[in-house]
C-alpha cells in the first residue's frame, strides 16, 4: 500500500511565548492509503498542532513530513495551498462554511481555487451534495439548515476535489448524537470506497469508527490496539500500547 502520511522525527516548538513550548516531540507516524485513523488526546496534548501539520496549515520545526510522497519541507506558502487544495479535504468542528454562499457554492469553493471551469465545477459540486443526501438543499444557505446538514455539506466540500486524505477535526463536536452517527457513517462509507481518513476526536465512541487509534499525550504519540479489530496486530513502532485511562467523555 502506498503511504499517504509519513512523518519521521517531527518536532514542533512554539517560541511565541517567553518559554518555548514543545508541542510535538519526535513524532513518527505513518498512514497508508485507505487507512481510517483516529487521533485521540486531551486538550493541550498537541493534537491540534498535529492536525495543522498534517493539513499543511503549519510547518514542523524539525523532522520530515511527506504527504502522498511529496516532501513538504521546502514548499512555499502557495505550493502548500495548492497541495491542500489537491490532496486534503478538511472537515472542521464548526463546519467553517461561508454564510453568504449557498451550500452548492460552498461545495464548489475548492474547485474554484483549482481553477475548474464553472459548468464542470457546479456539476461536480451537485454530485457531491447528492452523495451526502443534500441535493434538495443546494440553494439554501448554511444558516437555513441544521448542524448535521452543515457538516454533511462540509463533507461534500472535502470530497469534491477527490483528495488523497480527509482530515476531520472533531467533526461531531457541534452536533447532536443522532446526526453524529450519520456523519460518522458517511465518513466510514467514503473510507470504504478508498479515501484515507484521519479523524481527530476526544470521544471514544466516535474514535471506534476508525480502524486504527492513535493516542497523543504531551506531544507524544502511541498506538492502541482496537478491540473491534482484534485481527489487526499491535504496531510496535509506537511502543507499549497500554493506555487505558483515556479521556472518555
Amino acid at each position: 500500500m502506498p503511504t499517504t502520511i509519513s512523518m519521521k522525527q517531527v518536532n514542533k516548538i512554539y517560541t511565541t511565548g517567553k518559554i518555548p513550548f514543545h508541542a510535538l516531540k519526535d513524532v513518527d507516524f505513518e498512514v497508508e492509503q485507505g487507512d481510517f485513523v483516529a487521533i485521540m488526546g486531551p486538550s493541550g496534548s498537541g493534537k491540534s498542532t498535529l492536525m495543522n501539520i498534517i493539513g499543511l496549515l503549519d510547518v514542523p520545526s524539525s523532522g520530515n513530513y511527506e504527504l502522498n510522497g511529496i516532501d513538504v519541507k521546502d514548499l512555499s506558502d502557495d505550493d502548500r495551498a495548492y497541495l491542500r487544495n489537491q490532496e486534503i479535504g478538511f472537515v472542521f468542528q464548526s463546519f467553517h462554511l461561508l454564510p453568504q454562499l449557498t451550500l452548492l457554492e460552498n461545495v464548489e469553493l475548492p474547485l474554484v481555487y483549482a481553477a475548474m471551469p464553472g459548468r464542470e465545477r457546479r456539476e461536480r459540486a451537485r454530485i457531491a451534495l447528492e452523495e451526502v443526501g443534500l441535493a434538495r438543499w443546494q440553494n439554501h444557505r448554511p444558516l437555513e439548515v441544521s448542524g448535521g446538514q452543515m457538516q454533511r455539506t462540509s463533507i461534500a466540500r472535502a470530497l469534491v476535489s477527490s483528495p488523497a486524505l480527509i482530515l476531520a477535526d472533531e467533526p461531531t463536536g457541534n452536533i447532536d448524537s443522532q446526526a453524529s452517527s450519520e456523519i460518522m457513517k458517511l465518513i466510514s462509507a467514503f473510507n470504504e470506497r478508498g479515501t484515507t481518513v484521519v479523524l481527530i476526536t476526544h470521544e471514544r465512541d466516535i474514535a471506534e469508527y476508525a480502524s486504527r487509534l492513535i493516542l497523543i499525550r504531551d506531544g507524544r504519540l502511541s498506538e492502541e490496539q482496537m478491540s473491534r479489530h482484534a485481527d489487526v496486530g499491535v504496531d510496535t513502532r509506537f511502543g507499549a500500547p497500554a493506555i487505558t485511562e483515556v479521556n472518555h467523555v
Binding site: D77, D78, A81, H96, L109, P110, Y113, A114, R157
Partner: protein
C-alpha cells in the same frame, strides 16, 4: 477566478449597501465635479468659438479706456477718415455704446444700446429673426428706429412679437422715442446671455441697436465714438494693424504717454476666456483630486475593516487552497469595484449637473466619451492603489490564526 471574485465582491457590497455607498461618496464627489466642470468648460469654450466665428479673426476692436479718456482723447470722424487711408486697414466702422433706460408703458428696464452704421454687420453678424434689417439709408440717418436682441425681446414682450412696438429710451437725461423694426440675433447675443446679471446685482439690460447718429445724439451732440472696429487687410497682421491705428490715434490726440487706447481682437478674447475656464478647471480639479484622495483613504479604511471582519472567511479560503494571490485578488477586486461604481455614479451625477448648469447658463454642455473613460479608469485606479494595503494584509494572514478567529 475573475468571475468568482467579481461575484464575491458584488455580494459583499450588497451585504453592506449603506456602508458601500458612504465609502463611494468621496469618489462620487470627486469624479462628479470633474465631469461637471469639464462639461461646462468645454461647452463654454465651444460657445465662445461659435460666437466669434461671426466676428472674424482679422478684426480688432479699439476703444478708449472710459475711466481715463477725456473729451480730447475721444475718437473723432477725422481719426476714422485717416485710418481708412492706412494701407493695412481694409475697413473701419465706428460705434458708440451707452447705458440708459427703456420705458414701456409703466415699466422701466435697464438699457444697453449700440450705435451702428452700415459696415457694422461686416464685423459682427446680425441675423434678422423677425421684422427687417435697417436699410443703408436708415443706417446713415438719425431715424428713431431700433433692432432688438433676441433674448432682450423675450424679456421685453415675452412671447409676442415686438416688431412695431414703440418704446421710449433715455440716457443721461436725454429721451428718444424709437420704433422696433426687427429682432436680431448677433454673434454676441448668446455670449451676453451667459452672464445672468451685469455684476451689480441688476438684471441683464435690454440690448438695442440704433443707427449710429441716433445713438450719438442720445449720448451727446458731438461726433465722438467710444469704440471702433477695424478689419485688417491680412488676418496675420491684426496685431500690427491694431498698433498702427493706436499710434495714429495717439499722434492725433497727442497722448502717447497716457496709454488711453485699448485693443482687443477675437484671439485675445478667446485666450482670455480660455484662461478663465482654465483657472476654474484647475481649481475644481484640485478640489476633485483632494476629494478622490480622501475617498481613496476611505476605501482603504473600509477595506481594512472588511479584512478584520472576514478574517475567518480568509482562513477558510486559505485552508481550501486559496493562494496569497487569490486572496489579494479578491480584496483588490472589491476595492476596485467600489471605486469604479463610485466613478460611474459620479459620471452620471456630473453629466446631469453639467447639463443643468448648461441650461441655466444658456449653452450646451459637452462631455466627451474620452473624458468619461479617463474618469472611470482614474476612479478604478484609486481603488487599485488604496486597495493594495488592505488586500496585502488579508493575503498574508496565517490560515491557522485566521481560522481560530470567531
Amino acid at each position: 477566478m475573475f468571475r468568482e471574485s467579481m461575484k464575491m465582491a458584488w455580494a459583499s457590497l450588497l451585504a453592506n449597501k449603506m456602508r458601500s455607498l458612504l465609502t463611494m461618496l468621496g469618489i462620487i464627489v470627486g469624479i462628479g465635479s470633474v465631469i461637471a466642470i469639464v462639461g461646462v468648460g468645454d461647452g463654454a469654450k465651444n460657445l465662445i468659438m461659435d460666437e466669434f466665428e461671426g466676428v472674424g479673426t482679422s478684426s480688432v476692436i479699439i476703444s478708449a479706456r472710459s475711466s481715463e479718456a477725456e473729451q480730447q482723447d475721444m475718437i473723432t470722424v477725422v481719426d476714422i477718415e485717416e485710418m481708412r487711408n492706412l494701407e493695412s486697414v481694409r475697413l473701419v466702422t465706428p460705434s458708440v455704446s451707452g447705458f440708459g433706460y427703456i420705458h414701456q408703458h409703466t415699466r422701466e428696464s435697464n438699457l444697453m444700446f449700440y450705435g451702428v452704421d452700415q459696415d457694422y454687420p461686416q464685423f459682427i453678424s446680425m441675423d434678422i429673426i423677425s421684422g427687417r434689417a435697417f436699410t443703408p439709408t436708415e443706417l446713415a440717418s438719425r431715424q428713431p428706429i431700433a433692432l432688438i436682441e433676441r433674448t432682450s425681446a423675450e424679456k421685453l414682450v415675452g412671447n409676442s412679437d415686438p416688431v412695431g412696438e414703440i418704446v421710449e429710451i433715455s440716457s443721461g437725461g436725454r429721451r428718444q422715442t424709437v420704433t422696433i423694426e426687427g429682432v436680431v440675433e448677433t454673434s454676441a447675443s448668446s455670449f451676453m446671455s451667459m452672464a445672468p446679471d451685469t455684476g451689480n446685482g441688476e438684471e441683464m439690460p435690454i440690448t438695442l441697436y440704433i443707427p449710429l447718429q441716433a445713438a450719438q445724439e442720445l449720448i451727446s451732440d458731438r461726433d465722438y465714438f467710444s469704440m471702433i472696429l477695424v478689419m485688417s487687410d491680412n488676418p496675420n497682421m491684426v496685431e500690427e494693424t491694431g498698433n498702427q491705428v493706436i499710434r495714429l490715434l495717439e499722434a492725433n490726440h497727442n497722448n502717447s504717454d497716457k496709454n488711453i487706447y485699448n485693443k482687443r481682437n477675437v484671439t485675445d478674447l478667446l485666450d482670455q476666456a480660455n484662461r478663465i475656464i482654465g483657472i476654474v478647471t484647475t481649481a475644481i480639479s484640485a478640489i476633485a483630486a483632494l476629494s478622490l484622495l480622501v475617498g481613496g483613504i476611505g476605501v482603504m479604511n473600509i477595506m481594512l475593516v472588511s479584512v478584520t471582519e472576514r478574517t475567518k472567511e480568509i482562513g477558510i479560503r486559505k485552508a481550501l487552497g486559496a493562494t496569497t494571490g487569490d486572496i489579494m485578488f479578491q480584496f483588490m477586486t472589491e476595492s476596485v469595484i467600489v471605486t469604479f461604481l463610485g466613478g460611474v455614479i459620479g459620471v452620471v451625477i456630473g453629466l446631469v449637473t453639467s447639463e443643468l448648469l448648461g441650461n441655466l447658463l444658456g449653452f450646451e454642455a459637452k462631455v466627451g466619451i474620452t473624458v468619461i473613460l479617463v474618469a472611470l479608469i482614474f476612479s478604478s485606479s484609486v481603488g487599485l492603489f488604496f486597495g493594495i494595503y488592505p488586500a496585502r494584509k488579508a493575503s498574508l494572514l496565517h490560515p491557522i490564526d485566521a481560522l481560530r478567529n470567531e
